[in-house]
């Protein structure tokens, strides 16, 4: 019961700046939730939690790392409004509070044995990193693994160093795109000046055996989905994470309806087939 309403205390354990306005926050839960089964640290990639800064408010944030048993949580947060600005002026050791996990994540169980094409635009990399790490943990269960990731400029690419390391792996193919070239910070794996959909060109895809987890802004969805469909990917295997205004995260505040679905409990990850007919879903 408490998980749905009372945020649990946590402490900021580490802050790592990833780009001009985005940092990776590692939180440490200070208390287990009273009902042991659910803890904000155990989740499915694609799920989110509600992060509170006392005196400022609460914001929905996607998990960006792996579930943990010791109560450690990684979140990648962009400075955007009240809560996120307050967070960006916080320092290691400061207290925050969390409740979650909420929503439906990516359907990992469906992915066994399939090829996966992960496509991230901008901050969409946050939940997809969580997914990618989970896939790599059980790498042998899945087929070919490809990550396409686009950002505005080279210095806006999140997790640059991690990506550079991952790029050396044989069992994962990574393609990066930036809207405009810029000073290239060191350690960046090769990236092309291109739009995200351009990265699809020349990819070898077996449409019937591929699932596409997608995460990015609406504009990215609108430009990516038609070419994906054209490649023959079935709409029910395109999984995208939607952003909506959220207050409660538990399906009662009435803010996040997409058609007659609620983003917070029916999503935030939806199969495209469920959204196709809905006005303004993307």
């Amino acid at each position: 019961m408490t998980t749905s309403t009372t945020p649990l205390p946590a402490r900021i354990k580490a802050i790592r700046q990833l780009s001009g306005d985005t940092s990776l926050f590692t939180l440490q839960l200070l208390k287990q939730s009273p009902t042991q089964q659910t803890t904000p640290a155990r989740f499915q990639p694609g799920q989110f939690l509600q992060l509170s800064v006392a005196g400022v408010g609460e914001a929905p944030i996607s998990y960006c790392g792996l579930p943990s048993v010791n109560g450690s949580i990684e979140l990648c947060i962009r400075k955007a409004g009240r809560v996120t600005t307050a967070l960006h002026s916080a320092v290691v050791g400061d207290g925050v509070a969390v409740r979650g996990p909420f929503g439906h994540g990516f359907p990992l169980e469906q992915y066994t044995g399939t090829n996966l094409l992960l496509v991230a635009g901008g901050l969409g990399m946050a939940p997809l990193r969580s997914l990618l790490l989970a896939l790599l943990q059980r790498r042998s269960c899945f087929g070919a693994l490809t990550l396409l990731y686009g950002a505005k400029a080279p210095d806006a690419l999140l997790f640059r160093h991690e990506l550079a390391d991952l790029a050396t792996r044989k069992d994962l193919s990574i393609r990066l795109a930036v809207d405009r070239a810029g000073a290239c910070p060191p350690g960046i794996p090769s990236c092309s000046v291109a739009l995200l959909p351009d990265l699809l060109e020349g990819l070898e895809i077996v449409p019937q055996r591929t699932a596409v987890p997608l995460c990015g802004p609406s504009a990215a969805y609108r430009s990516l989905i038609p070419p994906l469909l054209a490649l023959g990917i079935p709409p029910e295997r395109i999984h995208l994470s939607l952003e909506r205004r959220m207050q409660c995260g538990t399906g009662v505040c009435g803010h996040c309806a997409v058609g007659t679905l609620l983003c917070c409990i029916d999503g935030p990850v939806f199969a495209y087939s469920a959204l196709q007919a809905i006005e303004g879903a993307l």
Binding site: V53, G55, V56, G57, R82, V83, T85, A86, S89
Partner: protein, 250 residues
């Protein structure tokens, strides 16, 4: 924790927004402990701008050269600048006569006697960028205190967008416009005052300025049905904000 530095300044106005703060008698001593109020001519001497400010609160509209100078100076020195109250946000009562030539208004008051040059009263945001706005003539004490609490939490107030009617209906008031045929501007006015006036049976005079997406066209139709012609209503609307967007809210 370092105490945030605060500057509170008045341009052309009645000092009401600043007084609203001094009227928070019960909270004043706590406030004085929490923030360093370095520039506040109404209540603190000496008057001098020094260093940088975490927050500048600016009351009043920008009329004279002196107003403009002070405003620019505050903007340069402050991380955040808040337009405090309706004059700062919209021009307020002083801008009510902006539909007439300024020289004519001046002649009406001073005849042909020479007076120092002045300008046309205008909102603060036409001169400098504004980080947030607190509405009201005067602002609600609770909103002022929330703003200062936000300062202590390193953030800015949420800018909301509902009309006074929303406050009014939440208080379960009988609608003065519909049931009493009074010229209540609650439909078009930014809420947040807890419907102070209608709750006492006094129609809203629009002291908080336009609500975002105000549907003036439709409101004029409704007011006309209640017997108020457009010039009367527009005159009322201009009491606190000289320039309204008339387009339908759609």
């Amino acid at each position: 924790m370092k105490r945030p530095r605060l500057a509170i300044a008045g341009l052309s106005g009645c000092s009401g927004c600043q007084l609203a703060l001094l009227n928070c008698e019960a909270e004043l001593s706590l406030l004085l402990e929490q923030v360093e109020c370095q520039f506040f001519p109404l209540a603190i001497s000496p008057v001098e701008l020094t260093g940088r400010y975490d927050l500048a609160l600016v009351e009043g509209c920008c009329t004279s050269r002196h107003d403009t100078f002070l405003l620019r100076e505050l903007r340069k020195r402050s991380s955040r600048l808040i337009a405090l109250g309706t004059c700062a946000a919209w021009g307020g009562v002083a801008a009510m006569g902006n539909d007439r030539p300024r020289s004519r208004l001046r002649r009406q008051v001073y005849g042909n006697q020479p007076i120092p040059a002045d300008g046309v009263p205008r909102p603060v945001s036409t001169v400098v960028t504004v980080d947030a706005t607190v509405h009201g003539c005067p602002p609600e004490p609770a909103e002022l205190l929330a703003l200062l609490a936000d300062l202590l939490h390193d953030t800015l107030p949420l800018q909301r967008s509902f009309p006074v009617c929303c406050d009014c209906r939440m208080r379960e008031n009988l609608c003065l416009l519909q049931e009493r045929g009074m010229l209540c501007l609650g439909l078009l006015t930014a809420g947040g005052c807890d419907a102070r006036c209608p709750s006492l049976g006094v129609p809203c005079e629009g002291c908080r300025g336009p609500v975002p997406e105000a549907n003036v066209t439709e409101a004029l139709t409704i007011y006309r049905q209640k017997g108020f012609d457009a010039p009367t209503v527009l005159g009322r609307l201009r009491r606190f904000c000289p320039e309204w967007q008339y387009g339908s809210g759609a």
